[in-house]
Symmetry: D2
Subunit: 213 residues, 4 copies
């Protein structure tokens, strides 16, 4: 197997990339300048050195922004972040999407995956224990003047697995949330941009009707 | 122009049908038996004779179900229909879609179109006057024991024109609704079936967050 | 079942139409004027009266063009048609497509279908016997001055079933064609408009290479 | 701009990759192990060191296969390659596609691009001069017993730009080919796999008819 074949094999593992496009990537790189490929390779080599995983929310972040030697991302470190809200998302790109919408200014927690509907050992897959600890810390902040956590927002994709994860996390947090007086909410459901009534599925119509206002 | 060309011209006006498929329809019919074509032609000829438009909700309905010589559709005539709710939809197929979902058991009103964002003479296009009269009747039912109207539900597709229609109808009904003590609601917005957070537009995320519960 | 349901059932049989679009067609018609529906119904009723099937090529054609009381279509009746060429196609819409290209001025024969790869009683499905007789007539024209048939062009879609039909018709005609000194050809194969080499299948590349010129 | 943003910028330049997928690639890599990223980065760094560009056909190839210290790819170096045929293709992935089809066993030449329809300085973009020299060498091989070039096959995608490139290369090579007694051919045109007559464009039908056999 030559270098182009090997690169093709690796690019095939990239999300959404098949054999053909993987090979095109390899040929694309072989036709670049040495300089271009050096920049790319060094970015990949340094990526994990320059990127930390926030010990609070598990988001990946740029280590240059590391404050006081601690592994805290820019959102968790920002005193303007509304610490009364904690949104639980599946992955970094979901967080980015919500952040770009400009509609949310609270904290986040990255669960690290969805909970498969049929699976035994769930705890090893998603960060439910880390979440529990995080909620404990946030609900009883030690620092003076810090607003404490009031609401946990479950923000998963609207799929069977997303629904199952919502159900699972609610179950795992129920007791703790009750004891701490925390509200657990989920993202609202109904018509989304572009929804045509005529072609809507029954669940969407039911949710849209139930959540009318 | 021969018969096949003429039929092609007419089928081209059918919703979603282009020249090629229209011609395929014509050739499809020329290859059917006489019996098949007779059945189809007679159904089309009788369609409007057998189909009435409900004088209450403007839905098309089968005249065999006509009760007491009145042009009332089966939903409006059904005493089990919840007359405290009136859902305003654009067209018959929207009504069918909601009805099939099994989530709604109130009355309907078919507006007959959406209100274009830039247009002068709106009243001639949608049934806003008929709607106003209908609400007047429903809010003060003459029959004893009939539940009177409590809530008007605006149920339009989530598009700029649907939004504009929602805005227009609310404006036109505001005074009347206030004087009669009626609530005006719109279908809920947020995540719909299949929505992935990562690929959601900002409006959908904002609505999902605002309407969390 | 009411008139709209019945129409929906019939429109569902139209080529390429599912339940939803069939229902839209029915609602579309119920909202037309009586005049529109009358025109459509009468066109459908008269379609088969006004349309004959050519006794020479089996093409459907407008009976007003009928010459001398005979069921002969405008192409077969046209003395400018090159009677040295006979193209065998599956169906009327294939003929229309070739005719519109302006690249062919010979005669046609509509086989009436493709030959399924696994099937016993083929003769009952396609007009192979009618084709054999037609070739016999065309190769030995009785009229003076008429050019006689020289070449039979098989023009089927490039699919396994089209290939099988090509094979079947060649086999059935071989002896006759040899005895009459007729050439049998098939449409050329290779790159078609829009073909990108990078994404071409092996068969297309093989044909393109074999038929290079 | 942090490392993830920088990587996103670079991945956006990959063929067919937009902002969103580029960012997913970056997050994908940040979540890999250090080992995985090291392998990928080193493959990219070594790609151009391990890959040479054949001085005969301009194909990229694995330098391990370099024979006798010369920059000759495995196809050009293979004595089983039929040196009477020279196929001109646009790019490496076209060559791969033809090679995989197993239908061709001659030599290749990679032109390095298509010739834009409106452009002045064409020679700087495609390797027309290198091609001319290559043909000179191939048509008069110095080695004893080597079969000399007989036919040049132009193998470009069937698009306006591909057609223009075919026209351009034929024009540039005409005199040379005539003087050397070389045939210039182009890939055959007609029906390609999956072509349905009914939906074929006029050019494809014309080619299929012209090239019938």
């Amino acid at each position: 197997m030559n270098a182009i074949d090997k690169l093709t094999e690796i690019f095939k593992e990239f999300p959404g990339i098949g054999e053909r496009q993987a090979r095109r990537f390899a040929y694309f790189l072989v036709a670049r300048t040495n300089g271009y490929n050096d920049v790319l390779a060094n970015l990949i080599l340094d990526l994990k050195k320059e990127t930390g995983q926030c010990q609070e929310c598990f988001k990946f972040f740029n280590l240059e922004r590391k404050s006081d030697g601690q592994n805290i991302c820019e959102i968790c470190a920002d005193s303007n972040t509304d610490s009364s809200l904690l949104m639980i998302v599946e992955k970094d790109s979901d967080l980015e999407s919500v952040r770009k919408s400009g509609a949310y200014h609270g904290k986040y927690f990255i669960l690290g995956g969805l909970v498969p509907i049929v699976e035994k050992n769930t705890k090893s897959r998603v960060r439910i224990e880390e979440l529990t600890k995080k909620i404990g810390r946030e609900a009883r902040p030690s620092g003076l003047g810090l607003a404490s956590l009031k609401e946990i927002i479950l923000a998963f994709s609207l799929s069977p697995q997303g629904d199952h994860t919502d159900f699972y996390v609610r179950q795992e947090l129920r007791e703790l949330a009750e004891s701490l007086g925390l509200k657990i909410s989920s993202l609202g459901r109904g018509l989304s941009t572009g929804t045509e009534l005529e072609y809507s599925d029954n669940d969407t119509l039911k949710n849209a009707l139930k959540n009318r206002q």
